[in-house]
Structures are given as C-alpha cells and as structure tokens.
C-alpha cells in the first residue's frame, strides 16, 4: 500500500470509529430504514437545493455568472472525488478531461450546429471514453506513477489543441457570439438566471447519482478497491473492469462540467485547460474534502472565489505575486488544520464539540 493514494482512515468522521478492511464493505453511516422526516442531512441538502433555486432572484447576474462557474467546476471535482476519495485512484489530468468536454461541445455547437443539450451529451460520452482509455494504464500502475501519467496528459492537452488548430481554432480557440444556453423567452429569465438554475439541477442530479453509486453495491466494490485491491479480487470483484468503469464515470462527469462551463462562457481557449488547471482541480478536491460530496462544492468555491477575493484586497500592478503567495499560504493552512478538507474538517470539529468537549 506504500504508493496507493488512499485517504487516511477517518477522513470522514463516520469511518473513524471502525477503520480497516472489515468496514470497507459496509458503507459509512448508511441509513436504510429511517423515515424521511428524520434525516437531517436530507433536510440540509433539500434546504440548500431550495436556496439554490431562489438565489437567481436575489443576487446580481454577475454574481450568478461566477456562481455558475463554481458549479461547473464542482461537477468536475465531484468526479474527482469519486475517483480519488472513493476508489483511491489519483488523476492529475482532470483539467484536460474538463477541457475535452468543453471543446467537444463547442465544436459540435459551432461547426455542426447541434442543439446544446445533444452536444453536452456527446461531450459526456467522449470524455467518458477518453477516461476509460486513461484508465488502461491504471491497471498496471497505481499511486503516484498514475498521477504522473495523468499529469502528462494535462501537460500535453493544450499543446495538442494548438497543433490541431484546424479543428480547435488554435491559440484563440473557439467562440460563439453568445451562450447557446438561453431560456425560452416566455420564461422571463435572464440567461445568467437560467444557466444558474440549470447548473443547480445538473449538480443535484450528479451528486445524487454519485452518492447512490457510492452507497450501492458498486460503491462497496469501489470502496474495497481503495482499501485493498487484493481483497477486493478475492471477494469476486473484477478489479480491472471496475477501475476502468470508475475512470470512465469520473471522466464523463468532468466532461459534463467542462461542456457546460464552455457553453456558458461561449468560449474555449487552450490556456483555460493548462496543467495548472488540472492541479487546481486536484487541490479543490483535497481542500474541499475528497470523501464528502459537499466538499466538491466547497473546494470549487475555494479555488474560484479565493484568488479573486485576495487580488481584490491587494489589487495593484505589483499585487499579483502577493495574491499568489497568500493563496499558497491559505492552501497550506487549510491542509494543516483541516487535513481531511473543509467539509470533513467542519464535521470533525462538530464531532469534537458535541461528543467529547474535554478531548484534546
């Protein structure tokens, strides 16, 4: 297990009590026979969903646009959470898959005049297949070697975009006159409101699907894959097929985020999907908490809002380097004090204060 990327036991408070292989097959905190009105977490998510539906009528279009970007990135981070937090496989190349989704959707809409929902679906399929292919070396290599291979994909992707400029538009990329994702006129919504609402729905569906996936039978196999591949195999799990499936799903989800992100922005350029972006997604996954679904939202918010907030506080022509330094420091401090991510950390803090106040 020396090079396997698995979160330490206890990343989620619920697994803290009983780490180890035995608990791997029983999903933490699974509640089966509880009436719906006695599920606080369901209530919290429902409340969040309702807030998400109300938000477009409360805040400005500019803030909505930014929040929409958070949600598109959160989709990709959720895909990473499945791969890293659940299956224990690392990918430092999800930025490229996000970009692949964006470019696929963009090319289909711009060059072939596809309707955007079809283009998004096609982008999901293309990214999923690409992810399945990327998963092939994961059958042979695990841990950081796999991280390296995927980072190579992240590094090479923008170069390929530049090379095949006939298809991708080269350095200046592809642009549409405006986002194709617009509401029907009778709805009386601005495009920003509509896009945000759409993303709230998509994120909800993605999170529900991923959560159900990770608590279902497949999820238990995935958990086994993370904790101990050998044991998983002995329990009758087809490890190779499972690995490829997880890579495919995770990548398809990242491509979904990218396709929506690209179409909302109405623009794709190679510089958006640099290796740096892939590493940023990875840090969002870690900072948010790779084993909590709320972590995907928090991590995405962290990487979108924090750089802007910092540079607005510092804001001068020489301030850019200071913002980069402060961002790095914030990232470090988060990791120091909340090693299992913001979402995991909040849960743990609460556990400490409610259960054993005197515990140090």
């Amino acid at each position: 297990m020396a090079t396997s990327i698995s979160e330490p036991a206890g990343a989620v408070p619920a697994t803290q009590a009983a780490p180890g292989a035995a608990s791997a097959l029983t999903t933490p905190g699974r509640v089966v026979h509880r009436p719906i009105w006695r599920r606080p977490v369901t209530w919290a998510w429902t409340a969040l969903f309702v807030v998400g539906l109300l938000l477009p009528f409360l805040i400005s279009d500019y803030d909505l646009f930014k929040a929409t970007r958070v949600l598109t990135i959160a989709i990709a981070v959720a895909g990473l959470n499945l791969l890293i937090g659940r299956a224990g496989q690392i990918s430092a190349g999800h930025g490229a898959l996000y970009g692949l989704g964006a470019y696929t959707a963009m090319i289909l809409v711009k060059e072939l005049d596809w309707a955007w929902p079809l283009a998004v679906l096609a982008a999901v399929a293309v990214s999923g297949v690409a992810g399945w292919l990327i998963g092939l070396p994961a059958l042979r290599v695990r841990g950081l070697n796999l991280g390296l291979l995927t980072i190579a994909i992240a590094a090479v992707f923008p170069l390929l975009l530049n090379r095949f400029s006939g298809l991708t538009g080269g350095t200046v990329g592809l642009q549409l006159a405006g986002s194709p994702i617009t509401p029907p006129e009778s709805w009386g919504l601005t495009p920003e409101q509509f896009q945000f609402l759409l993303l709230v729905l998509v994120v909800t569906v993605v999170l529900v699907v991923l959560r159900n996936l990770s608590t279902g039978p497949l999820g238990r196999s995935i958990e086994a894959l993370r904790v101990n591949p050998l044991m998983a195999r002995s329990e009758g799990v087809d490890v190779n097929r499972l690995t490829l499936t997880v890579f495919g799903i995770s990548s398809a989800v990242a491509g979904l985020g990218g396709a929506l992100g690209g179409l909302v922005l109405a623009s794709t350029v190679p510089d958006s999907y640099s290796m740096f972006f892939s590493l940023t997604l990875l840090s969002a996954c870690v900072v948010g908490g790779s084993r909590t679904w709320a972590g995907a939202l928090l991590g995405a918010a962290f990487i979108v809002y924090l750089p802007d907030l910092i540079s607005q506080q510092i804001g001068s022509t020489t301030g850019g380097q200071w913002s980069q330094l402060v961002y790095a420091a914030a990232l470090l401090l988060t990791l120091f004090f909340l090693p299992s991510g913001v979402a995991g950390g909040i849960g743990r803090l609460l556990a400490r204060s409610t259960r054993r106040p005197e515990r140090t």
Partner: protein, 408 residues
C-alpha cells in the same frame, strides 16, 4: 459511534455550511436596472476604464503593461482629466485564465459600469463575445488577426500591429538586402508565428525551415543545430520570454552566426538583448515601432522622459526600463486620445472615435511615426527596420507603412 444520529447531524451542518458559503460569497443583491452599460454621461462623473491583466501566474510579466497604462491615466488625472472628467481605472487580475477574464469583464461592466475594457493577450478572444453583446468597447492587447475582425466583433479593437505585417516588412528587407538568402524561422507554436510566416511569404520570401516550439521551452539548442544543418543563413527569431535571450546566447556559444531578425516585441534591452549579452546581438536587425526606454538612444527623448517621470511618480520604479511598460503607456495615450474624441463615452462612440484617429502623436512611437486607424482598425501599422550597433538600435531603413503592404 456513540449516538446514531451523530454523523448525520454533522453532515447536515457541512451541507448547510456549503450553502451559506455560496450565499455569502455572492454578496451583491439584484438590482432592478441590471442592463446599465456604458459609462455615465454626466459631465462631472469619472470615466470608468476597466482592465483585466495577468498580474500573477506564468504571464505575470504583463503586469508591467498595466503599470505603464495606469501611470499614464494617473498623469492625465493629475493634469485635470479628460475634459474635466477623471479617469477611474479599475485593474483586476485574471492570472491569464480566460474564465477569470470573462468574470472580470462582467464585474467591470455590471459593478463598475465601465464603458471601455482593456484585456491582455490572445485569451481576449474569449471575452470578446460578451463585451460585444453588451456593446462595450474592448481594447485587446494582442497581435492575433482574430482581434482585428471588426465584422465579427464590432466593439473589439486590437492594440499592437497584426503579426503578419511585421513578417512582410522583414521579408521585404531580406528580399532587398540578401536576395539569395536561405531563410529560417524559429518561433512559438501559435498563430503569431503562422502569421509572421504568411507575411514573409507575401513579401516573396519563402523560408527554407520553419521550426516552432511550445512556449516555456527555453533550451532550443536542438532547433539551432537543425537550422545550422539546413544551411540557414538568415534567421527570423520570434520565440518569446526567456527563450529569446537564451537562444541568442546559445548561438554565440556554439558559433552559429546567421543574420538575425528579432521579433519586435522580443528585441528590448530589459528582457531580450540585455540578458543575451549585447555583444552577442551586435548586427541583429528588427522591424520596430516603439521606443525601448532602456535604449541609450532615447535618453533625451521627450516621450521616453515623460514615461520615465510618470513611472517614477505613479508606477513601479523598477519598470522604468521596461519595454512592456512603455507599450502600456503608449496604449493608454491612444485610449485617452480616443476618449477625448468620444467625449468620454465608451461603446460605439469609442470605436467610432478610434476608427477616426488619423495622424495622432504618441509618446511611445519611434520618431516620424503617428497613430492612424488602418487595416483591421489597428492604430499602429508603421515600422522601421533597426540595426543593433552594440550599444543601441539605429535606423537601417525608412518608415514602412503596413497599410501599403497588405493589398496582396
């Protein structure tokens, strides 16, 4: 696990925290008139100029451009502003991330009501659709032909000349000076090199070898070996950043001495020929339009002196020798001249005033050159071939107007 409900209520709080964070981060409320674009027209209100530049990340060097531009704006404000109205410039960092630039553009328009937005680099094309849809004038700092397509993006104007023109000017010079030369091009794998090669070809010079590398690749010894092996005796060198100086140094090291033409934006003292070692560049040529503030030739030049004193007073003193900073300074001067014509208005009034500029002096331009709206609605399209004599860039030809070249 002591209490069965423990983890559940904890995770509930996590979910709520995620929600509240999203809420607090998005702080400004929805106003009724959200469609206000363009700067206010009343005569005492400041003129809002929005700027989105990479101040951090790999292209943080472009902060010097923003610094030069800000210095000029402050200079204008100190002199009383434009027709009595101050310039309120809002500078935001985009880290050269197109998504952040698009974000910034929205903030500059919806929160700050900017009528003109300045964006940096090829990624400006990512923001152009939005700004054009909002009918807000955009000045994009980039050589890309896409940025001078005023049919597709009528509110976008490109600063810097189109990359292909320089290729034509250089090609013309080669055709006259060394008709039988074996020409090579070493550039970056983007459309800058493509358009430069198109320009060379349009001038009747077909390069024997065109090699491109990814930006950030600095060690080009392999490419130099290849060019040398192909017998290239005239080299157009257009790699940017550290690679330009490193390549010049390597050429001196390995004793490869073709006639070199340097790309105009990579022929300055501070970032290119200084680090390359001046003796290694002696004899090199470049087709240039701006003055390099670090060139001793311009020590007494009026425009450069104004630039230096403004940078010292309003900007970052370490940019006093920066070619990038004077590029921003010159661009700001052109923008101020345009705003004077448009009466401080952004949007269509701005682009009309921009297209109407004819024979405008500019502190950053070489002597005997002026700004005029020409092909692609770009303001700079005059070049002069300069040769480096070991201490400074001296004239090696007449002023050439690209407007006269681009017929073909």
């Amino acid at each position: 696990m002591s209490v069965a409900t423990g983890p559940w209520s904890r995770r509930a709080v996590v979910a709520l925290a995620a929600g509240s964070l999203l809420l607090t981060a998005a702080c400004s409320g929805r106003s009724d008139d959200s469609s206000s674009s363009g700067s206010g027209s009343s005569s005492d209100q400041p003129i809002v100029v929005g700027m989105s530049f990479p101040l951090s990340g790999p292209l943080a060097g472009a902060a010097a451009v923003a610094d030069g531009a800000s210095a000029y704006f402050q200079h204008v404000n100190a002199d009383g502003g434009i027709n009595g109205r101050k310039i309120d410039y809002q500078l935001l960092d985009d880290g050269y991330d197109p998504a952040r630039q698009a974000d910034n553009a929205r903030q500059l328009i919806s929160e700050d009501s900017a009528g003109v937005v300045l964006t940096f680099g090829g990624i400006s094309s990512a923001t152009a659709p939005y700004l054009n849809a909002q009918k807000v004038a955009q000045v994009a700092f980039g050589t890309q032909a896409a940025l001078s397509d005023t049919d597709a993006t009528p509110y976008t104007r490109g600063w810097f000349p189109d990359g292909s023109w320089e290729g034509q000017v250089v090609g013309q010079h080669i055709a006259e000076a060394a008709p039988g030369a074996t020409v090579g091009v070493l550039g970056i794998n983007n459309d800058l090199t493509t358009s430069q090669v198109e320009g060379l070809t349009a001038a009747g010079v077909t390069p024997a070898k065109v090699l491109t590398v990814a930006p950030g690749v600095v060690d080009l010894t392999s490419q130099l070996n290849e060019l040398r092996g192909a017998g290239v005796d005239t080299l157009f060198l257009a790699v940017v950043g550290p690679a330009q100086s490193a390549t010049l140094r390597t050429m001196a090291d390995i004793g490869y001495k073709p006639q070199v033409y340097l790309y105009s934006a990579a022929s300055d003292f501070a970032t290119s020929i200084g680090p390359a070692g001046l003796p290694n560049v002696t004899g090199a040529l470049t087709a240039q339009y701006f003055k390099d503030p670090a060139d001793p030739r311009w020590a007494d030049d009026e425009g450069v002196q104004a630039f230096r004193s403004d940078i010292a007073e309003y900007g970052d003193a370490k940019n006093a020798d920066s070619y990038l900073a004077i590029e921003g300074y010159g661009a700001a001067a052109a923008i101020v001249a345009t705003l004077e014509e448009s009466g401080g208005e952004g949007g269509e009034a701005f682009t009309e005033a921009w297209d109407g500029i004819d024979g405008e002096d500019n502190p950053a331009l070489l002597p005997d050159m002026q700004l005029s709206a020409g092909p692609g609605s770009r303001l700079v399209h005059q070049y002069r071939v300069l040769q480096f004599d070991g201490t400074s860039w001296q004239d090696a030809g007449d002023v050439v107007d690209a407007a006269g070249l681009t017929q073909g």
